[in-house]
Subunit: 142 residues, 2 copies
DNA sequence: GCTTGAACCTCAAGCGGCCGCAGGGTGTAC
DNA sequence: GTACACCCTGCGGCCGCTTGAGGTTCAAGC
């Protein structure tokens, strides 16, 4: 029987985050001591590990909810889980492309800065110069 | 004299976002018509373009506030702006590294999925298998 | 058995960076 | 003069947590 603090340590999660997951129904309500403190078992450790791992892979909580649901129903087709992963992969690739563009622009800015006064700072100049804008008006991939 | 809607169009910003920037003091309070509608000039268009461009490069609003302040004082040393940009570059590089790791793991997951039932789905298996966790417990770079 | 102090509890609000809606007023073209 | 697109304020919502206040419980040491 794990306390919430131990569960937190073993999964690299904050205590509050675990309670948050319970609140939004991602983690089940655990057993309690007479005094009302939560106590967890291995099954819950596994579930939380699943969630954390998926979060690290960039899945949204909604996607994780779907994945957990699939995982809870082993008879279902794998296609859905696969689709979620593929969707996620596409997103990651888009973000990567975006970030690479950012890196090159930032690198250029930083390297061209001569270190004088702000009046001729290349960093500020690039930001000011509308013509050098990234071409589209997308949101940032961050 | 631009209406807020035109300013929005010319900078690829939502009207509400411009009002939000004004509210948090990133954009100055503009002039108003007798009826109370905002009217903008070129200077404000430039400032907003600067902000949007910096946002596209992933700078936080706080960083942008500093950059704007530097830009408003052309006599100051450029070093600070340079430092902000370098910080941003480091962050971008960290995210890139993180995302690249995610991509390879997701790619592996997707390639290994055999298309059967969820019981033998690699996607879910990888997420379940604690031993395959990314080594650290960092937050995701997203 | 008693005391300490770390860990737990609930509830609520806050963060960044906006977006969207309701319910109304304005500006301009015909 | 009227239609209708646009503007206004204010507030609540989004995600994925985090922080804080104010109080209770548990386990170890004496």
């Amino acid at each position: 029987m794990l306390t919430i603090g131990n569960l937190a340590k073993r999964t690299g999660t904050k205590v509050q985050t675990i309670r948050y997951y319970e609140q939004i129904g991602l983690m089940p309500e655990p057993g309690r001591t007479d005094g009302g403190q939560r106590r967890y078992r291995e099954a819950e450790l596994d579930r939380l590990s699943f969630v954390r791992h998926a979060r690290q892979l960039g899945f949204s909580l909604e996607a994780i909810r779907e994945l957990l649901d699939l995982s809870d129903h082993p008879g279902k087709s794998c296609a859905e889980a696969d689709a979620i992963a593929r969707r996620q992969l596409r997103q990651v690739e888009q973000r990567l492309a975006r970030l690479e563009a950012l890196r090159s622009e930032l690198t250029r800015m930083v390297h061209e800065c001569s270190g004088g006064q702000t009046a001729d700072c290349r960093v500020l100049e690039v930001l000011r110069d509308h013509a050098e804008c990234l071409t589209d008006h997308d949101e940032i991939g961050a």
